[in-house]
Assembly symmetry: C2
Homo-oligomer: 331 residues x 2
């Protein structure tokens, strides 16, 4: 995932209602409390990842799913759900860095680079466990069910990605299934948890809000994969074709292979230099596959917006702005 | 942990009541279902660990904590709790193997040896997530709280162990704290979850049963660490001093350092061969520290048995037999 800031998320915060900045602030506070409040071991390693920032897109989706709190609502439950979702996300980042031997995370040294594989793996496990501990405080088994399904999906997506690495046989459906699992499921869970913590009359919209989140997450991952092929390093903070060098087969390559028979024959393992990766990106772009993948993502975002359920105007426009923000990362 | 079979667990199964073998069989069935029923990705890697056997000591503790089911009770909830606890245990085994680059687990090739670090880490994450998914089906937030606290403790224990590796400053209290976190907490959770799924009039004993589980788990870990120093490889399936070679500072070494000033000065990093590790084990034994550590474990087991709450005679004697079985591993 690129580190491109979602500057337009500020617009979401403004549109979503005056309560949002306060709630997002409470998420930061609680993440910091959890990082420093459980002894020096967690603090030392987890603080780097958890409290070091990030876009907090998933917590934002929780609050947008919940809508504006009613008069007496302190949104304690929604804050817990937002914290839990971000903890799951942070746990997967820590584990991803272990697997990729990544040096940096959110612009700082990664846990694995600082403390080694053992501590990084245990730190990720701890963040996972804390996520469930935090959400459980809401006392609602249904919410835990939603979170555990999403965190299962994340792990399955990771397994699928590794099973399909370097493969020439990944078709668009299999690719989309992987994106559903590794990205869209947690976006969906964020929206659904928000709805479950929202006003009682909005709980009925939980399924539709989950679908919105799923679609936005799917588009987010598609556009991320498009950026890997076509984005400038200045924009994405990553070298072009980093996924290809990792053996990760994404939609632009899959579509390009359908159009360019030489690409269809290419063994991804032969791409071993940044130069070769950049040239492969150029060839993929030349087939029109990048534009096609991007169109597909935009279509998914349109559907997400078009099929939003009946909501308060503020909630609706904030959700639409989030969907737009995902697209604007690409521009 | 050694692979020494707890043959005396058969006696527990006989003593605990005619319902126990059936319940343990359902745990096996469900673990197998979960391993093969979620697509080929999980099946391929998780089946090896989850369904490949093991002593199933933690599921047994769940059922012993619950006591004999009442007439209409199908123990569905207790089976789920037992499965969840075993899944958490399996997840930590898979991750531990990643960290240790272990070749074998339960006599079979480990996931990391077969499929690599990436897939093994994701498989562990998936088993974690499935544990919570399984337990959540009971619909009781309190149970999820118990499990998430225990799985947090496991990860914290792992962090503590790594933080203290090779250290000459680990005192007995710090060592015991680590054992509480990495082993005793899940034993305690197993007993407590069982009590929460037991007959309503036994739920009040949940705290006392948790304390029993904590003590048995603590003794289990202590004796495991004693075996590392004094056990014969034929008995333990491991070479003597494997912990010492890993830099893991355990109670026999800590106590021996208090008695032998040359040992107190020893830098564990200088122990690099099996021969050197075996010689160090001999020196530790010569101080009487092994016997002392063993006495401490036996004292903990005695306290566990002595302070069992008021229970049905069958439940009580089965719990006592489990405590004895933990000691008999040593004999």
């Amino acid at each position: 995932m690129t580190r491109t800031a979602l500057a337009s998320l500020d617009a979401v915060l403004r549109a979503g209602g005056p309560h949002l900045p306060g709630l997002m602030g409470r998420v930061e506070e609680r993440l910091r409390e959890l990082a420093v409040g459980h002894g020096p071991l967690l603090a030392e390693h987890a603080e780097m990842t958890v409290a070091a920032g990030g876009k907090r897109l998933r917590p934002l989706l929780v609050f947008l799913g919940a809508g504006e709190p009613s008069g007496d609502g302190l949104s304690v439950g929604a804050v817990r759900a937002a914290v839990a979702v971000e903890l799951i996300h942070s746990a997967t980042l820590v584990h991803d860095d272990v697997l990729d031997d990544a040096e940096l995370r959110r612009g700082r040294p990664s846990v694995v680079a600082t403390a080694g594989r053992g501590i990084a793996t245990a730190t990720g496990d701890l963040l996972f466990s804390r996520a469930f501990a935090e959400l459980t405080r809401n006392g609602r088994a249904e919410e835990v069910r939603v979170l555990s399904a999403a965190s299962s999906a994340l792990a399955e997506g990771e397994l699928l990605q590794r099973a399909d690495a370097w493969s020439a046989d990944v078709d668009p459906d299999r690719y989309l299934q992987r994106c559903e699992l590794k990205t869209a499921a947690l976006f969906a869970a964020a929206c659904e948890l928000g709805a479950l913590e929202g006003a009682p009359d909005r709980v009925s919209a939980a399924g539709e809000l989950a679908l919105f989140g799923r679609r936005v997450g799917l588009a987010f991952q598609l556009l991320d994969d498009v950026l890997d092929v076509s984005g400038s390093p200045e924009h994405t903070g990553k070298r072009r074709g980093a996924d290809l060098l990792d053996g990760t087969v994404t939609l632009p390559l899959i579509l390009a292979r359908q159009k360019d028979s030489a690409l269809a024959q290419l063994d991804l393992r032969t791409i071993r230099s940044e130069q070769a990766a950049a040239e492969l990106c150029d060839r993929i772009e030349a087939t029109g596959a990048v534009a096609q993948a991007r169109e597909r993502a935009l279509g998914i975002v349109s559907a997400a917006k078009a099929e939003l359920p009946d909501l308060e105007p503020e909630q609706r426009s904030a959700l639409e702005l989030v969907a737009d923000a995902v697209v604007e990362r690409y521009a």
